[in-house]
C-alpha cells in the first residue's frame, strides 16, 4: 500500500500533470490554484480521481485548507494513515 509520503507525492504528481503548463515544474510548493489554475470544479474532479487511486474519501471540509501540492499530499497521507 502506498501510504508513505514520498510515494503519495509521486502518484499525486502523475494526476497533476494534466493541469501543468510546460513551463512549470511541479514541486511540493506549487500552488494548485494560482500556478496550476485548478479552480473549485476541477479540484473536486481531481479529488475524485485521487480518492479512487488511494482508496480513500477526502472530506470536502478538509480541502478548504489545501493550497499547495505538499498540503494535498499531506492530507492524503493523514487520511491513509488513519485507515
Amino acid at each position: 500500500m502506498a501510504s508513505n509520503y514520498d510515494d503519495i507525492l509521486q502518484k499525486l504528481n502523475e494526476h497533476l500533470k494534466q493541469f501543468c503548463p510546460p513551463e512549470i515544474e511541479i514541486t511540493p510548493d506549487t500552488d494548485l490554484i494560482n500556478q496550476l489554475a485548478i479552480d473549485s470544479v476541477k479540484l473536486l474532479n481531481l479529488v475524485m480521481e485521487i480518492e479512487d487511486e488511494f482508496d480513500i474519501s477526502v472530506p470536502l471540509n478538509a480541502l478548504a485548507d489545501v493550497q499547495t501540492v505538499h498540503e494535498l499530499a499531506n492530507l492524503i497521507h493523514q487520511i491513509k494513515s488513519a485507515q
Partner: protein
C-alpha cells in the same frame, strides 16, 4: 485585496463574459400576464424556464385563498413561530403534508433553501458524515456546511461509487446521512432510488431525498419519485419546495420518524427567521389540493416534456440523459450558450442560462422547463425556434 476589490474582480469577470446591453442574470420583467407569459423590454415573451411545472401561479382557487388570508390574517406573521406562535393555517398545512405522505410529521419552512439547511443541519453535526451526490443543489451543500459534519461527495447518480464510500467508512456508515434529489435541476435526470435504498439499508445509514423538482411531477398523486418507485416507506426524510409545482414560496420536510419534530427546537434556519405569510400558506394549501388531484395536469406536462425533448434531440442538440420537464441543452462554450439564450429571447422565449461554475463539469447550459400550462401550439413554436437557431448559430 480589500473586500470591495473582490467584488470589483467579479464585476470585471462578468463584463468580460457577458454581452453588453442584455441583462442575462436577473432579467427585468416588466409585467406578468399569466403563468406562461410576461413582458420583457417591450416584447411579450413565453416563459420556458420558470419551473412552474403545473402552471398554478394564477389558479383561481389559489388566488382566492391568498386574498382571503390577507384580509383575515394580515400581510405577515412578523416573526418566527418559536417566538410569535403558530397560526392555524401553518399547522393545517403541516397536517395536510403529513397526511399526503402518510407519515408522522411535517415541518413547513420559509423557503425550500431553508428546508434543506434546517433539515440537514438539524440531523447531522460535528463528528457525523454526510454523503452527497456531486451534482447536489447549493442548498444541500450549504446545509452540510452549516451542520459541521464531514462532507463526502460521490459521483453523480453513481450508486456503486456511493457504496464504495460507505464501505470505506466502516462502522461510521451507521451514523451517515445520504442525500439525493428526485429529479436533478441541471439535467433533469433522476436519482437511481431503488439502488440507493438498497445500499442505505445494507449500511444502516439514513436517507434524505429532496423532491424539489419531482413533487407534483412524478407519481399518480404527485408525491414525487417516492410514489413513482413505490419506495415511500424506505426513505427517512423528504424535503421539497413550494416554489416550483406549487407556484409559491416555502419548503417542507416530512418523515415517519417522530424525532423530526425536535428540529423545531434545534434548527437555526427554522428558529431564527420569520414564518411564511398567511397568504403564502393559504394559497399553498389550495395548490396542494390541486396538485394531488392533478392527474390531467401531469399528463399534459409529460406530453409537453416528451414532445419537446424528442424535437430538440432530432434537431441535434445535446441534451440531458432522459426526457423530463427539465430539458437542458448542453453547449460547448459559454459564448454558444449566450448566443442561444439571446436568440431565444429575441424570438420571444425566455429560458435559464447556466454558465460555469454553476453548471456541472464546466458545461454551459440553456435550460428549459416545460409546464402543463404550455399549449401544444406553444411547444411546436418552441421547437421551430430551436430549429431556426440551430441553423443560424451552429451553421458549421
Amino acid at each position: 485585496m480589500s473586500l470591495l476589490d473582490k467584488l470589483d474582480a467579479i464585476a470585471a469577470a462578468r463584463k468580460a463574459l457577458l454581452p453588453e446591453g442584455v441583462e442575462v442574470f436577473g432579467t427585468p420583467i416588466e409585467e406578468v400576464y399569466s403563468s406562461t407569459a410576461a413582458k420583457i423590454g417591450d416584447r411579450r415573451v413565453l416563459f420556458l424556464g420558470t419551473n412552474n411545472y403545473l402552471g398554478l401561479t394564477f389558479a383561481p382557487q389559489c388566488l382566492e385563498a391568498a386574498h382571503k388570508a390577507i384580509d383575515s390574517e394580515g400581510t405577515g406573521t412578523t416573526g418566527s413561530r418559536m417566538a410569535n406562535g403558530s397560526y392555524s393555517g401553518h399547522r393545517a398545512l403541516e397536517r395536510e403534508f403529513a397526511e399526503f405522505y402518510r407519515c408522522h410529521s411535517c415541518i413547513v419552512f420559509t423557503t425550500g433553501y431553508q428546508a434543506n439547511l434546517a433539515t440537514i443541519s438539524g440531523l447531522a453535526g460535528t463528528g457525523d458524515v454526510i454523503l452527497i451526490d456531486g451534482d447536489s443543489h447549493a442548498s444541500i451543500y450549504d446545509g452540510c456546511r452549516l451542520s459541521g459534519a464531514e462532507i463526502i461527495r460521490f459521483r453523480h447518480n453513481d450508486a456503486q461509487d456511493l457504496e464504495k464510500r460507505l464501505r470505506r467508512l466502516g462502522d461510521r456508515s451507521r451514523s451517515a446521512l445520504i442525500i439525493v434529489e428526485g429529479i436533478y435541476s441541471m439535467l433533469g435526470d433522476r436519482t437511481p432510488l431503488a439502488e440507493i435504498v438498497r445500499i442505505k439499508t445494507t449500511y444502516h445509514s439514513t436517507l434524505l431525498l429532496d423532491e424539489a423538482h419531482s413533487l407534483g411531477v412524478l407519481g399518480q398523486t404527485g408525491q414525487g419519485l417516492v410514489e413513482e418507485t413505490g419506495l415511500l416507506d424506505q426513505v427517512d426524510f423528504i424535503t421539497g419546495t413550494f416554489s416550483k409545482s406549487l407556484g409559491n414560496i416555502g419548503g417542507y420536510c416530512v418523515s415517519n420518524h417522530p424525532q423530526l419534530d425536535q428540529l423545531r427546537y434545534v434548527s437555526r434556519p427554522y428558529i431564527f427567521t420569520a414564518s411564511p405569510t398567511p397568504a403564502t400558506i393559504a394559497s399553498t394549501r389550495a395548490a396542494l389540493k390541486l396538485l394531488r388531484e392533478g392527474v390531467e395536469l401531469r399528463r399534459q406536462l409529460w406530453s409537453n416534456a416528451r414532445t419537446l425533448y424528442a424535437r430538440l434531440k432530432e434537431l441535434g442538440y445535446q441534451l440531458g440523459p432522459e426526457p423530463s420537464p427539465i430539458i437542458a441543452t448542453i453547449l460547448d462554450t459559454p459564448q454558444e450558450a449566450i448566443a442561444l439564450w439571446r436568440g431565444l429571447l429575441e424570438h420571444g422565449i425566455y429560458v435559464n442560462l447556466m454558465l460555469p461554475p454553476a453548471a456541472p463539469e464546466g458545461k454551459s447550459l440553456v435550460r428549459c422547463s416545460v409546464s402543463a400550462a404550455h399549449s401544444s401550439e406553444q411547444i411546436d413554436f418552441i421547437g421551430e425556434t430551436f430549429a431556426v437557431l440551430r441553423k443560424t448559430i451552429f451553421q458549421h
